[in-house]
């Protein structure tokens, strides 16, 4: 059988994808008894910092979720830092503070200097043992803090991240993001945590020991991805980061193509620029699995870009061929039905291995759903993810490469 150079590249991508799938599945299986931590009897003091900039639509839900937390109120401190909002954010928070005196809630207001400065202001104004960050467009499951603090029983754990779930999975974009997070935030992050490869401490909910900030310093801009930069800094010092897969935080999905593009462009640009700032993390002899996973990620995005471009080229080529044929017969649709005949396609290895890859993706989603206790049906989410995600991701990567190469700045 003939194999084209393009197919050889696809085969290499599939082999590495299989390798990655087995690595993550085997790691989860090996550690199946350590997926969750038993709740602790003592309750450490926790401070949750909420940086907010023009969040009038969502911050109410965030604050209300603090009221419902299954955690002693006298052990909980909330700090909201209004980073110079021009909407009603401050008023909403202040009103909430006055109404709910049982919560220890402090509100700071400062001029707009960026999310990382708001986080730092909060960190500098607490004495709590554990410091958490919560995005103002996210809200916590009532058990989230209890679950995530349990991981700090291990003195080696310096930080713990949560599982991010979409607030809603209605609509195609929300469904894609929900499946993406079941894979990325539940399944893969859990496997990565066992491999020492967590590469981000996400804004929706991450908790740190207070001394971490003394040891590695406060948040930095990190090319507008301060959560990625902080994780890289922790990893550089070989600090252990856990994943509390059972600590759930809900976040609002991007519902327009434009807002999703802006967010993903910022994240991907952040990955490229932060890797450039911390190249030593790519050394497998020094950083083991983290380096392998980062290298795999870089290869993965190149493969996504390549395979998606090739698929788009093939689809356009096929569509053009069909159009040309219709044009040849003067668009005589009466014979079109006669033209449709099913003939079984040639079973090339690429098709079978592609099917294996599809099974791997479905298993990622199902395992992610199971270990993070997602109760909603994810059939539509999986379908939309499998059909569209590669193309979207390739587009985001291509745009990120463009803005990095041409040193274009981006907005939040």
């Amino acid at each position: 059988m003939t194999t084209t150079p393009i197919e050889i590249i696809i085969y290499i991508s599939i082999f590495l994808g299989l390798y990655f799938a087995i690595l993550t599945l085997v790691t989860l299986f090996e550690n199946r008894k350590e997926l969750y931590k038993k709740k602790r009897k003592d309750y450490p003091n926790v401070c949750l910092i909420v940086p907010a900039y023009n969040e009038e639509k969502t911050i109410g839900k965030t604050l209300n979720s603090f009221l419902k937390l299954d955690y002693p109120k006298n052990k909980l401190e909330i700090i909201v830092v209004d980073d110079g909002s021009r909407d009603r954010t401050f008023k909403i928070v202040d009103g909430f503070r006055k109404k709910n005196k049982e919560l220890e809630l402090k509100v700071f207001r400062k001029r707009n200097e960026g999310k990382y400065t708001a986080l730092n202001l909060g960190i500098q104004n607490t004495k709590a043992e554990l410091i958490g960050t919560v995005d103002a467009d996210s809200y916590l499951d009532s058990k989230a803090i209890k679950k995530i603090t349990a991981y700090f029983k291990d003195p080696e754990i310096k930080a713990a991240i949560s599982t991010i779930r979409m607030d809603s999975n209605k609509g195609i974009l929300s469904a894609i993001q929900n499946a993406e997070f079941l894979i990325g935030s539940a399944f893969i992050k859990k496997a990565f945590s066992f491999l020492g490869g967590i590469n981000v401490v996400p804004g929706p909910l991450s908790v740190f020991r207070k001394e971490v900030f003394k040891e590695v310093g406060l948040y930095r801009d990190g090319h507008k991805t301060e959560d990625l930069e902080m994780a890289f800094r922790l990893q550089k010092r070989n600090f252990k980061i856990a994943h509390a897969v059972d600590a759930i935080v809900y976040t609002t999905p991007c519902i327009t193509f434009k807002s999703l593009f802006k967010q993903r462009l910022r994240w991907r640009r952040g990955i490229l620029l932060n890797i450039k700032d911390y190249p030593e993390l790519l050394n497998p002899f020094k950083h083991g699995h983290l380096a392998l996973l980062l290298l795999y990620g870089l290869f993965g995005f190149s493969a996504t870009l390549f395979i998606s471009s090739y698929a788009i080229f093939k689809i356009i080529n096929l569509a053009w061929g069909k159009f040309n044929h219709l044009w040849l017969i003067n668009f005589d649709f009466s014979q079109l039905l006669a033209d449709i005949s099913f003939s079984f396609p040639n079973i090339k290895p690429i098709l079978i291995l592609g099917f294996f890859s599809l099974l791997a993706f479905i298993s990622y989603i199902l395992i992610g759903k199971r270990i993070s206790f997602e109760k909603r049906s994810v059939k539509k989410d999986s379908f939309c993810f499998i059909i569209f995600y590669n193309f979207l991701s390739a587009f985001w990567w291509a745009s990120a490469i463009y803005v990095v190469l041409f040193k274009k700045d981006i907005n939040w």
Binding site: T2, L18, V26, L195, G196, P284, L328, I329, D332, K348
Partner: protein, 228 residues
């Protein structure tokens, strides 16, 4: 950190497992392909028997057979084989010796079917329109693929038309004979309708005009292949 360090034993196990799954994908594909190839050969063999029995039946019964002989099934089988052959060509490659062997065999079957039709046409005094089409590889004849599509379209629209397509470059004695009988020049695509030769790409309108010289197309569309 126990897991951050790379465990080479674990990675060796993962590598072997990945390799096993990867290779099994190739083995499975090869087995399915062989099955498809065997099926095609089986159909070709059946077709050969069908043609031989039709020839024999026709020879034995002579005039009486005019009412009984039905070659339209054979024609449909030939068409099915051509589709499968195209698919095999896409997998094996146009220059693959196995594919070329199958293609030669298919071409011979086509010629035999054409001869049978010619004889039936003479002996039973039937009005049959047959089209012989010569094509070449895409790089040597960029328009051949479009011409082939148009002829398939005509075959579906006018079921009474019998179309036989041949690779101009195929090294096969009967094809060389056909080429010399019609004294063909290498100006592809070539269409021969009822012994008249037409060179170059023909559009839908041009083809309708050409075929219209031999048969009333408007009337024929409605009367499905009713000559047998």
């Amino acid at each position: 950190m126990k897991e951050k360090k790379i465990n080479f034993k674990k990675h060796l196990f993962i590598f072997i497992t990945a390799l096993f799954i990867f290779v099994s994908g190739f083995i499975l594909s090869d087995q399915l392909f062989q099955k498809k190839l065997n099926k095609l050969m089986e159909i070709q063999e059946n077709l050969r028997i069908d043609i031989l029995s039709s020839e024999t039946q026709f020879s034995i019964l002579n005039q009486v057979s005019c009412e009984n002989l039905d070659e339209s099934i054979l024609s449909q089988e030939l068409y099915e084989i051509s589709k499968k052959l195209n698919s095999i060509g896409g997998s094996l490659g146009e220059e693959n010796p196995d594919f070329l062997r199958l293609k030669k065999f298919y071409s011979i079957l086509e010629i035999k079917h054409w001869l049978l039709l010619q004889k039936a046409s003479q002996d039973c005094d039937l009005d049959i329109t047959s089209i012989i089409y010569f094509y070449d590889k895409k790089k040597d004849c960029p328009k051949c693929s479009d011409q082939g599509y148009l002829l398939s379209y005509f075959r579906k629209k006018y079921p009474f038309l019998r179309t036989y397509s041949f690779d101009y470059q195929l090294d096969l004695a009967p094809i060389q004979t056909l080429k010399s009988i019609y004294n063909l020049k290498k100006e592809l695509p070539i269409i021969i309708v009822n012994n008249d030769v037409y060179y170059g790409f023909k559009t839908k309108g041009e083809l309708e005009e050409i075929i219209g010289k031999y048969v009333d197309l408007e009337e024929s569309t409605t009367t499905e292949s009713g000559f047998y």
